[in-house]
C-alpha cells in the first residue's frame, strides 16, 4: 500500500466515524424530542450488549438468541437467493442471446417484476404447505428479477466486435459461450446478483414477520409485541450492518471480475 492510498483509507475511516457520530447525534435528538419514547443510543447500546452477551442461546421455539435469529434469516436468504439465481442466470443468458426469447419473455418479466414479493406468500404456502418453504419461495421470486434482467441485458449488449471474432474463427457454440458470452456478461450478472441480494435482504424482514418462527424479521415483530423498542432498534442496526456487508461482499466480487480494471 503506498502512502497515498494509506492516506486515502485513513480519511475514509475518519469520514465513516464522523458519519456515525452524526447519526448518533440525530438519534439522541429524536430521543430528547420524543421525551424518551424512542430509546436513545445509550439505552439501546445496553440492550445490544445484553443481547450479544449470549447471542446463541436457545430456550424453546419462541426464545432464541439474536445470533440464532440472524443465522436462520441468512440461511433463508441464501437458499432463496441461490434458487432464484440458478433459475435467473440461465434464463437471462437465453433471453439475452435470442431476440425471440427476449420478445417472448420480456413482457412476462415486466408484468411480474413490480409485484411485491409478499404477494406470492400465499401461493408459497399453498405450494409448500409450510411457512418456511413459503418464505424461501418469496426470496427466490425477489432474487429472480434483477439477476434475470441484468444477465439478459449483459448478453444482449455483447458488441459485434466480440461476436465477429467468434464467427471469423469458427468458434463452436460451447467456445462462444465460455470464451465470449460468459466473460463479457459476468460483470453484468454480478451486478444483478448484488441488486438481488440487497432486495432479498430487505424482503426477508417482512417475510419473517408474516411467517413467524425464527429470524431477524420475526425478532423485530416479537420485540414489538413485547414492547421492547430497544430490541427493535438493535435489530434495525444489525439488519443495516449485515445488508452493508453483503453489498460490500458482492462489490468486491464485482471488482474481482471486471476485466477492464485489472
Amino acid at each position: 500500500m503506498n502512502s497515498f492510498s494509506l492516506k486515502n483509507s485513513i480519511s475514509n475511516a475518519l469520514y465513516f466515524i464522523g458519519s456515525m457520530l452524526v447519526l448518533i447525534g440525530l438519534w439522541q435528538l429524536v430521543t430528547i424530542l420524543t421525551k424518551n419514547e424512542i430509546p436513545g443510543p445509550v439505552a439501546t447500546w445496553q440492550v445490544f450488549m445484553e443481547l450479544m452477551s449470549e447471542p446463541f442461546y436457545d430456550r424453546g421455539p419462541n426464545d432464541k438468541g439474536i445470533g440464532n435469529q440472524l443465522v436462520s434469516s441468512l440461511i433463508r436468504v441464501f437458499s432463496g437467493f441461490g434458487a432464484g439465481s440458478i433459475v435467473a442466470i440461465p434464463l437471462g443468458l437465453l433471453m439475452g442471446s435470442s431476440k425471440t426469447g427476449m420478445k417472448l419473455l420480456n413482457p412476462i418479466v415486466q408484468i411480474l417484476r413490480p409485484v411485491s414479493p409478499l404477494a406470492w406468500f400465499p401461493l408459497g404456502l399453498l405450494a409448500f404447505k409450510a411457512a418456511e418453504g413459503a418464505t424461501i419461495f418469496i426470496i427466490m421470486i425477489t432474487s429472480l428479477w434483477p439477476t434475470l434482467i441484468n444477465t439478459a441485458f449483459g448478453v444482449a449488449s455483447i458488441p459485434d466486435d466480440h461476436k465477429n471474432v467468434g464467427k471469423a474463427f469458427g468458434f463452436s457454440t460451447w467456445k462462444y459461450i465460455t470464451k465470449i458470452m460468459l466473460p463479457y456478461s459476468i460483470p453484468h450478472i454480478i451486478t444483478g446478483l448484488r441488486l438481488s441480494i440487497g432486495v432479498a435482504w430487505m424482503v426477508i424482514v417482512a417475510g419473517e414477520m408474516l411467517s413467524g418462527g425464527v429470524g431477524i424479521g420475526f425478532f423485530v415483530w416479537d420485540s414489538w409485541n413485547a414492547l421492547s423498542l430497544e430490541r427493535i432498534l438493535v435489530a434495525i442496526l444489525i439488519i443495516g450492518t449485515v445488508g452493508l456487508l453483503l453489498d460490500k461482499g458482492f462489490n468486491a466480487l464485482q471488482n474481482a471480475f471486471s476485466y477492464n480494471q485489472k
Binding site: 465477429n164 464467427k167 471469423a168 474463427f169 469458427g170 470464451k179 466473460p183 476485466y259
Partner: protein, 285 residues
C-alpha cells in the same frame, strides 16, 4: 537487422513461384449486389461488382468513407451475404465465414479479458481441432515471435498500444494459416511511423509464406494501397457503389518505402489514383 536480410532472400527465391502460381483464381466476385432493408426502405451499398483476384495477389479496395468497400470485403469473408450474385473463394461459394479466410478487423477485435497469448490461442484452438495442444502452443508462440510480441504475450489488450494490438490481430489471422487474408482498414488508427513499419511487417509475413496468401486490404490511404498492392480497386462513391477502375501496380518487389517515392511509375499511379478519387470534388467546386 538480420531479419531484414532474411526476408530479402526469401523475396528473391519466391519470385518465380509467385509468377507461376498467380494464374489460379483465389477469389471470384460475380455480379454482386448488397442491399439492406432499413426503416427508410431498401439501401443498396454496392452493386454490379465483378472482380477476379488471383492467388498470391495483394489487392487494395480504395474509396471514400461509406462507399461500401468494407461491405464488399465482408462478402468475401462471409460476414455479409450478397443480395444477388455470388462470391467464390477457393473454389467454393461463400455462405459464411470460414477458416480459409482470415480476417483482421478495423478495430482489432481482441477479446479484452484475454492476454495476447490467449487471444491467439483461442483462435488456433478453434480452427485446428485435430492438432495436439503442444502443436497449437508452438503455432501461437511462433506467430507471437514473428510480430515481436513475445515479451508482451501475457499482457491484456488494454495494456497495449494501437500498433501492438494490430500486430496481435495480424498474428491471430496468420496463425490459422488461411489462404486468403482480409484486412479492413487495418492501419487506419495508427500514426504514420507505426503504419510504415506495419506495412513492412505485413509484407514480411507474406514473403515468409512464399507469397502464397491472397491478401485483400480495405483502405483509404493511397500511398498504403500502392506500396502494398498488385492491383488497386477504386470504388465510386456510395450508395450503390460500383467499381470505378482497377489500377495495376507494376512496381518491382521487394519495394523500398524510401526509394519508391521517387519512382516515376509510382508518381504516375499516385496521380492517377488521386484523380480517380477526387475528380468529383473538383467538378463540383
Amino acid at each position: 537487422m538480420n531479419t531484414n536480410d532474411k526476408s530479402l532472400n526469401l523475396v528473391d527465391s519466391a519470385n518465380d513461384f509467385h509468377k507461376i502460381n498467380s494464374r489460379e483464381t483465389a477469389i471470384s466476385i460475380n455480379n454482386v449486389e448488397v442491399s439492406f432493408s432499413t426503416p427508410k426502405g431498401k439501401f443498396t451499398a454496392v452493386k454490379d461488382i465483378s472482380l477476379d483476384i488471383k492467388r498470391g495477389e495483394i489487392i487494395s479496395l480504395i474509396g471514400h468513407s461509406g462507399c461500401g468497400k468494407s461491405t464488399l470485403m465482408n462478402t468475401i469473408s462471409g460476414m455479409v451475404l450478397p443480395t444477388s450474385g455470388e462470391v467464390i473463394a477457393n473454389g467454393k461459394v461463400v455462405k459464411g465465414p470460414g477458416p480459409d479466410r482470415g480476417i483482421v478487423f478495423q478495430n482489432y477485435s481482441l477479446l479484452p479479458w484475454m492476454s495476447v497469448y490467449k487471444n491467439i490461442f483461442v483462435a488456433v484452438d478453434s480452427v485446428f481441432k485435430n492438432k495436439s495442444t503442444d502443436e497449437k502452443h508452438a503455432i501461437v508462440n511462433h506467430y507471437i515471435e514473428m510480430v515481436n510480441l513475445t515479451s508482451h504475450k501475457d499482457k491484456l489488450p488494454s495494456q497495449l498500444s494501437g500498433g501492438m494490438k494490430q500486430r496481435v490481430a495480424i498474428a491471430r489471422a496468420f496463425a490459422i494459416n488461411p489462404s486468403i487474408l482480409l484486412l479492413d482498414e487495418p492501419f487506419g488508427a495508427l500514426d504514420a511511423l507505426t503504419k510504415g513499419s506495419m506495412h513492412i511487417e505485413l509484407l514480411k509475413l507474406w514473403n515468409l509464406d512464399n507469397r502464397n496468401k491472397t491478401i485483400v486490404i480495405v483502405t483509404h490511404d493511397i500511398e498504403e494501397a500502392i506500396f502494398l498492392s498488385d492491383k488497386v480497386v477504386v470504388m465510386n462513391n456510395g450508395p450503390a457503389a460500383t467499381i470505378k477502375k482497377i489500377v495495376d501496380i507494376n512496381l518491382e518487389r521487394p519495394r523500398n518505402k524510401k526509394a519508391i517515392a521517387h519512382d516515376p511509375e509510382y508518381i504516375r499511379i499516385h496521380d492517377e489514383l488521386l484523380g480517380l478519387l477526387f475528380d468529383k470534388f473538383s467538378i463540383e467546386d
